[in-house]
């Protein structure tokens, strides 16, 4: 490996064969370059006449942004793509953690450059903190083939493996429809939405695309007064109702009964989770004797009402 100074123009950035990182922010690195310059030289190699970037995409793109040229580079004199890629891999492995999509890219490149599947599973996957199974290799290889806009969302939202796995199970068209619904949701709600949609689709033999284009969902999406979060949340709840129709009916009936009983808001009443047990739970706050007495009085009044017996049908 020799150190050289190269003009930015000499690096052929369209060849991304060794690239594993995308969708990063350059702001901090640009600031650093402006203050102290490029301290750690990127790795390049030559393929024919062309100089190809091996490692240091973030650094080079930041240099490009502020036209910092020429820049110091290390030139790898190795013709084998796998060996060249491994130099970049180990350089990164020693200095940082890889994101889920970077891991997918690494595994994809290893396979593309001819590394044996079994060696990838046994040797490289543990280095990436992935359990050694061919089935997981398959999943990561699928992730590496997802559409760029999907990858961007996965990266920006730091989506978990189970969510990405669910997302990867939909068609490209379905993923396109799903992205705006997933963006505003939290990690857990996102996963649950994907899971419910997948399971409704499988149970009823109806494509997710068809479900996402039903009138109910299109109506929510077309309601102007709703924010993107409200739309996503309403669709999440609608899918939940479709996935658990009996449970949803029970929950709705329970809540309607509370309304009919004019159950006081300050006294929370809940059935056991999923109505699995016969018990009900009541919770209220008080800060003095007077408030305690008031709540107990209300409860006593509710307990004496005949309509309350209806609540015990929910068990």
């Amino acid at each position: 490996m020799k150190k050289e100074n190269l003009s930015l123009k000499e690096i052929f950035l369209k060849d991304e064969r060794y690239r594993i990182s995308y969708y990063f922010s350059l702001e901090e690195l640009v600031l650093s370059l402006k203050k102290v310059g490029l301290i750690s030289p990127p790795l390049v190699t030559f393929r024919g006449e062309r100089c190809i970037l091996v490692s240091g995409w973030k650094r080079v793109l930041a240099c490009l942004k502020i036209s910092l040229s020429p820049l110091p580079v290390f030139v790898i004199e190795e013709e084998n793509d796998l060996k060249t890629f491994l130099t970049a891999f180990y350089e990164n492995l020693a200095t940082r953690k890889f994101s889920l999509l970077e891991k997918a890219e690494i595994l994809n490149k290893l396979k593309k450059f001819g590394e044996e599947e079994k060696r990838i599973v046994r040797f490289y996957m543990p280095l990436l903190n992935i359990p050694s199974t061919l089935s997981l290799l398959d999943s990561y290889l699928i992730f590496s083939q997802l559409e760029p806009e999907v990858k961007r969302v996965i990266h920006e939202k730091n989506m978990s493996f189970p969510s990405v796995e669910l997302l990867a199970g939909f068609t490209p068209q379905e993923r396109k429809l799903l992205l705006p619904l997933l963006l505003p949701l939290s990690q857990n709600k996102r996963k649950k939405t994907l899971e419910d949609l997948q399971e409704i689709s499988k149970k009823n033999d109806v494509s997710a695309e068809k479900i996402l284009k039903t009138k109910e969902i299109l109506d929510i999406l077309g309601t102007k007064r709703l924010s993107p979060l409200q739309k996503a949340d309403n669709i999440r709840l609608l899918l939940k109702k479709k996935r658990y129709p009996t449970l949803s009916t029970w929950t709705d009936s329970f809540n309607s009964l509370l309304k009919r009983l004019q159950w006081p808001r300050e006294i929370e009443i809940n059935p056991s989770p999923f109505f699995e047990e016969e018990d009900f739970f009541v919770k209220f706050n008080f800060k003095d004797q007077e408030e305690l007495q008031a709540s107990l009085h209300k409860l006593q009044e509710l307990a004496s009402r005949e309509e309350l017996s209806e609540i015990f049908k929910f068990k």
């Binding site: 050694s132 398959d138 189970p162 399971e199 149970k203 009996t246 999923f274 109505f275």
Partner: protein
Amino acid sequence: MFNSKYFPQRVYIEKGSLNFPLTQRVLKNIGQVPTEVLEDTTSLLENMRISRDVIEQGKKVLLLTSQRGEFIKSCPCTPGYIGCNYYIINLDLNCPLDCSYCILQHYLSNPLITVNVNLEDLWSQLDVFLKRNKERILRIGTGELADSLALDHLTEHSINLISYFRDKSNAIFELKTKTVNINNVLKIKPARNIVIAWSLNSSKIAQEEEIGAPPVIERINAASKVSERGFLVGFHFDPLIRYPEWEKDYREVIKKMLETVDPTGIAWISLGSLRFPPSLKAIIKKRFPGTKIIYDELIKGKDGKLRYFKPLRIELYKKIIGYIRDFGGEQIPLYFCMENEEVWRDVMGWVPRGKENLEAYLSFPLDQSKIKLIY
């Protein structure tokens, strides 16, 4: 008649287990299957775990090894639900059948079909166990972590186990199976405390979800033969699974069962609805992409397992029990596997006073006076 006896593609024998009589018996019965003696199984298991479907790979291999610890364990019931004080003998582990809903896919870390060959240790452990519990009537079986008869043409466990238990006055021994591998059972003399039990399901579920298992009608016919031979038989409708037309299909199988097998020779029928730990769902999705059974309304129960929303379970049980009663099974003891008090009360009309009470209820083949119920 369904005739698909299990033969592995390869047999591995742990070096220390080579000279046991059971090892030699299996090798004699297995015929021309490649065999290899291993110092230990670590690298074999490591290689297997890499594969795309470790469970499927594991079913192709038979491992003959020795049980280092206790053979007898209390059946791992589930917190918050009523258990039945059942004991299991871990003689074989894993099953050559491939039921989509099988808990073993999640439960066992060793994917290999495994036979523990140190039977001598089992007999001495059983002697101590039965002596220590001589005041109770114990229900013991081998069908929790394996199918009791799936390997019987190789191991001949049924002959040895029935011979051991026949004169044990405080034990009811159960062999539980989905197979029709009954040749050895039919060869031996029945005993009042031996129950040969079949897991049954609707024909549709058996066909679509119980890969490698004989059709339900074959199982019922096998039960009939065993019953006619003089053994008590049992049935386990577990897991009961909902789908469109489940009522018609379960009614049909229950009718057939009670028409074919003499109800007075049925020791018990257990009922359990589909349930599994959430982590099994991912395994089922991956291994059985065509199945729909995991997409019904399954909620997280008190024990963290996914199970049908309670009103759906109650509906399922009430219908099934109705069919059993309608077709002549009024006197057959019924019990739930892993159900809660509310479901017992609502469906059966009584709740066992704990595990011991249920144990006594199910000990009727030996002692009718032990039946004490709460109504």
